[in-house]
């Protein structure tokens, strides 16, 4: 009798779930415009490519790098330790409160838009790569003057040769 009752309760709860919408807070997100404007004004909304490279090299705890580009673009080249999440799936992606999220897109626009969404959902420690993947390639992988970071990530200074991945071969084909 108890088992039958529990089964009925579970079935009812499951059936109601099917028509009750998403359990995520995305639909209830709120935007504090003043707070976002302040973050932009004091440049707490983004990181530079060199800052990101430093974080990766220093193994910054909780760092999570999200690449919003297409699967083909990601397969062609991506920042080390980056994981690809499609833009439309980002809002349903779970992030831990202790994580530092860095968003990457080709030119930076999509990443900046995603930054607004994640901030609206309450994520505090979130940034976008200012100039997108192009900045990473220009500043870290193939700068005019190589740095320790360039060598660390296996980049080479311009002018380049041997078909190496550079900003000239992969950059800004979209947002």
């Amino acid at each position: 009798m108890i088992r039958r009752t529990l089964a009925v309760v579970a079935l009812a709860a499951g059936a109601l779930a099917a028509v009750s919408g998403s359990p995520f807070r995305a639909e209830r997100a709120t935007i504090d415009v003043a707070q976002l404007a302040h973050a932009v004004a004091v440049e707490e909304d983004h990181v530079t490519a060199l800052e990101l490279a430093q974080w990766i090299r220093d193994r910054k705890p909780g760092l999570r790098i999200i690449d919003l580009r297409t699967a083909a673009e990601f397969a062609e080249y991506h920042v080390p330790r980056a994981e690809r999440i499609a833009f439309e799936q980002l809002l349903g992606t779970p992030f831990r409160p202790t994580e530092t999220i860095v968003l990457i897109s080709d030119g930076g626009a999509h990443a900046a838009q995603a930054w607004v969404f994640l901030r609206a959902l309450g994520h505090r420690d979130v940034y976008f790569l200012r100039g997108g993947l192009g900045e990473w390639l220009d500043e870290v992988m193939s700068p005019s003057k190589p740095t320790d970071l360039t060598r660390y990530f296996g980049g080479m200074p311009r002018p380049h040769a041997n078909g190496a991945v550079t900003a000239e071969t992969i950059r800004r084909r979209g947002c």
Partner: protein, 179 residues
Amino acid sequence: MNALVVAVGIGIAFGFALERAGLGDARKLAGQFYGTDFTVLKVMFSAIVTAMLGAYWLGRLGVVDLSQVYVPETWFLPQLAGGAIFGAGFVLAGLCPGTSCVAAATGRGDGALVMLGMFAGVLGSGLAFDAFRGFYESTARGALTLPQLLGVPYGVVVCAVVVMALLAFTIAEKLEARA
């Protein structure tokens, strides 16, 4: 530190529940594979359905922010291989990692031996890790969930899993009655 204390508490509660369900007995667990005793399926699937319904409704009612709940990442082929190895070990030993601890804690020698084998396996894997690191890190899919994978709403997946569980329980009871 608090998380560790909570983890110990949850672990003890989990072990207690497994023991009370009779899952410290290798014969009972092996019965799952021979189709004579479906206690494992019933206990584990009940736990899944309970946790799933709780998570869904707590999230839906705004009590818990589900986006803050950690979802383990998926590595498709390595986890498939791991599952096969786990299953082979399970049927061979008659115990899985959790139930071997339960069996050992209740004084069963087979439980202690399985734990020993398990730790030997962990040590061996760790020492040989470089040899299969490439495979271990292959086919990464990120934090994948069924609603994302199937492209259907979260609530529909919840409902489908409940129906699946109830069907599984019904079939299991019938099979047990025949055995």
